[in-house]
């Protein structure tokens, strides 16, 4: 990227905002900061912003409201930041259009990873270039042939398993909520049938992971959903 990416950090605590800014600047990002929802929205309109970090616990606006307002006219990637025990909020925010989440306290590595994934996904979507194959470590999917290879050996997946895995591949590195996955794989109207998803995930996991308890591809995010990791 010749043009530096511009990140808006919406966080009311000064010190956290500072350290996030500093960490991102180290990686070559340009950072802007907003202390509340109002400022954030006005900055979004007036400045060129490529990606946003949004704290859910803002003083003036409910973080969700800011998110909804933004999504009314912008598709820029939004990563929400929240405290640990607000799983429902995280899932709700993700379903309302947030791209990923971070839980306070988080490590710099995690922060950078999330930002990179969100940006990559965003650019890919806007590129309109269709990728035939995607490879993550030893796992490769071929969309054209509808085949999946693990360490270059073909593995056999049921149609549903293939649907599920291809959904993950189309969103490498991004967290996918349970409800989103159910909607995409089974369709709207299957509501909260998490049992079926769990069973399907377990089956898929056994086919691609060496040790289901120590997965290297499909990570579980308790209370939120799942993620296919690439780093």
């Amino acid at each position: 990227m010749t043009v530096k990416t511009r990140i808006l950090i919406v966080e009311d605590d000064n010190k956290i905002s500072n350290f996030i800014s500093f960490a991102l600047q180290q990686e070559g990002f340009i950072t802007l900061a907003a202390k509340n929802g109002q400022t954030a929205l006005s900055l979004l309109v007036s400045e060129q912003i490529d990606i946003m970090l949004l704290d859910l616990g803002l003083p003036d606006f409910d973080g969700m409201e800011v998110l909804r307002k933004i999504r009314e006219w912008s598709e820029i990637p939004v990563i929400i930041v929240s405290a640990r025990d607000q799983d429902k909020e995280k899932a709700m925010a993700l379903d309302a259009g947030a791209d990923d989440y971070l839980t306070k306290p988080f490590s710099v590595t995690e922060l950078l990873a999330r930002v990179r994934v969100a940006l990559r996904h965003f650019y890919r979507q806007n590129n309109q270039k269709i990728q035939n194959t995607i490879k993550v470590k030893n796992l490769e999917i071929n969309f054209e042939k509808r085949l999946v290879y693990l360490a270059d050996k073909e593995i056999h997946l049921t149609p549903l398993e293939y649907s599920l895995l291809s959904l993950f591949f189309k969103n490498v590195g991004k967290v996918l909520t349970t409800s989103y996955i159910i909607k995409e794989v089974w369709g709207v109207g299957y509501g909260e049938d998490t049992q079926a998803l769990r069973a399907l995930m377990a089956g898929l996991r056994r086919k691609i992971e060496q040790n289901p308890a120590k997965p290297i591809y499909l990570l579980t995010e308790i209370g939120v959903g799942y993620r296919l990791i690439d780093e």
């Binding site: 956290i16 350290f19 306290p105 490590s107 040790n211 308890a213």
Partner: protein, 507 residues
């Protein structure tokens, strides 16, 4: 019950009235005869005499007796042959029969009226007594006042000096009792023979217990004996069945009042306890929550310092230490928050079916973050295991146990995790085994107690305030599971084993 000694007196009085009225009737009869008033009126005068006798004497025996005697008297004095009980004119026999029947009916009716009147009066007394008793009882503010009210009410009703001995919560007679004295005074007296009384009343199920000094009427509460109403034997002996029944009713009212009082007390106590618990919990939660933000800053910044410094740099190590300590603090904060969540009465344990390997993988990730070189072996059934649980909390348990194992493990040794299905008890068993020095035998029974650190302080002991294991215990128990620890039989090290039910238990 003994009859009131006035009964005999009443019979004598009744006879006197009878004789008097019949004699008077006879005299009036003679008077009527002398002024040539027809005979029938004399019969009616005798019936009047029977009526008066029945009205003023007790019992309908008198009524019947007086009717027969009235008839005979009339026969004797006013039918030919005079002054004899025989009769010339057989028509008089009809007169006698009708007279007798009329007299008997009249007598009976009168007696019945008297009886009804008496019963109505008694009912009125009963209602009034109970009304006043209940009134005072509802106003009473504590047990002492209830006892005092009961004593004075029952004393007033029975017209003697009654006493009330209360029992405490554990069913033991108190050391003092309230004694009614003459002139609406009440005094407190010391209880004699407390143990003897307790033994005597313990298994009693009757309305009254008869003794030398007192007749004891137990006050039966909903669950145990609340006290005794003690009526002096000298008076109690003479009580009618009716009075006993009423004393019993009054005693039951007193029991209701006492039970209600204890019930309210208990309720207030529980409310207070719950409120204190909530306060403590909220305090903990607020503190822990507030610790997170500064922790995030400390962890984040120290991590930055580490990444910005070279490994040989002293800043690198310093920053690393800061980061590690902050991470430990954060682990503590998470544990406290889990605990407050459990203790929150509004908290409902999630019962959704979760996949065991998913929850385990999260815990393993957490440990690998802190101990990157730690090797963790997992043995579990081939097929996926789904059990009802709160995934977050069980992940916390596993994290705590793995952390504990990692702390105790010797370098280069792995942690072994085994997951087994126990078909017989329908449980899943989790075993976490480390290869450390094992657990001190003395510590074993106290491991899961809150704030327990352990008897032996190791040289490089990682500090802890001893809540990690206690929280595991609470979480597992909330899931209706079991948890235990023991030293390995095969080789060195310790094993922590916990079970979780495979199906939701109906609690």
């Amino acid at each position: 019950m003994n009859r009131i000694p006035g009964t005999q007196k009443k019979i004598v009085v009744g006879l006197i009235i009878m004789i008097f009225s019949i004699a008077t009737a006879t005299l009036i009869g003679y008077f009527f005869e002398s002024i040539k008033i027809p005979e029938t009126n004399i019969v009616i005068v005798y019936i009047l005499a029977v009526l008066i006798t029945a009205r003023f004497s007790q019992g309908y025996l008198m009524g019947v007796l007086s009717s027969i005697i009235a008839t005979l008297t009339y026969n004797y004095f006013f039918t030919a042959p005079y002054f004899s009980l025989s009769v010339y004119d057989p028509n008089y026999l009809i007169t006698f029969v009708i007279m007798t029947i009329t007299a008997i009916i009249t007598g009976t009716l009168t007696s019945k009226t008297l009886q009804s009147e008496k019963e109505a009066k008694e009912k009125e007394v009963e209602s009034n007594t109970l009304y006043h008793l209940t009134n005072y009882l509802t106003d009473a503010v504590d047990i002492k006042e209830i006892a005092s009210v009961a004593t004075s009410a029952i004393s007033g009703f029975l017209a003697c000096n009654v006493a009330c001995l209360c029992f405490d919560f554990h069913g033991n007679p108190e050391e003092t009792y309230i004694q009614q004295e003459d002139g609406s005074q009440q005094i407190i007296k010391a209880t004699e023979n407390i143990e003897e009384i307790r033994k005597r009343i313990e298994n009693l199920h009757a309305i009254v217990d008869i003794n030398e000094e007192f007749y004891d009427f137990p006050i039966y509460g909903r669950e145990n004996i609340l006290g005794l109403i003690r009526v002096p034997t000298s008076h109690a002996k003479k009580l009618t069945d009716y009075q006993v029944k009423l004393v019993h009713t009054m005693t039951e009212n007193v029991a209701l009042a006492m039970d209600r009082f204890y019930g309210i007390q208990e309720h207030l106590r529980l409310k207070e306890e719950a409120s204190q618990e909530r306060y403590r919990s909220n305090l903990l939660r607020a503190i822990s929550h507030d610790l997170r933000t500064p922790l995030a800053t400390i962890m984040g910044n120290s991590e930055l310092l580490v990444s910005l410094s070279k490994k040989k740099d002293v800043i690198h190590d310093i920053s690393n230490d800061i980061n590690k300590e902050a991470d430990w603090l954060y682990g503590l904060v998470e544990n406290i928050l889990s605990l407050t969540k459990l203790q929150d009465s509004k908290f409902q344990l999630k019962h959704e079916y979760e996949v065991v390997e998913e929850v385990l993988s999260v815990a393993i990730q957490n440990i690998n973050r802190r101990y990157p070189k730690m090797e963790i072996n997992v043995a579990m059934p081939n097929e996926a295991v789904l059990i009802p649980m709160d995934a977050k909390l069980i992940a916390q348990v596993l994290t705590n146990l793995l952390d504990n194992a990692a702390k105790h493990n010797k370098s280069h040794k792995p942690i072994d995790i085994t997951i087994k299905k126990l078909e017989t008890t329908s449980e899943i068993e989790f075993t976490i085994r480390d290869y450390g020095n094992g657990i001190n035998e003395d510590d074993l029974p106290h491991l899961f107690t809150m704030f327990f650190i352990g008897s032996k302080q190791r040289v490089d002991a990682q500090h802890g305030i001893g809540i990690g294991l206690a929280i595991c215990d609470e979480i597992i128990r909330a899931h209706h599971g079991t948890i235990q620890a023991r030293n390995c039989t095969a080789g060195k090290g310790a094993e922590f084993i916990f079970t979780l039910p495979m199906k939701e238990k109906e609690s």
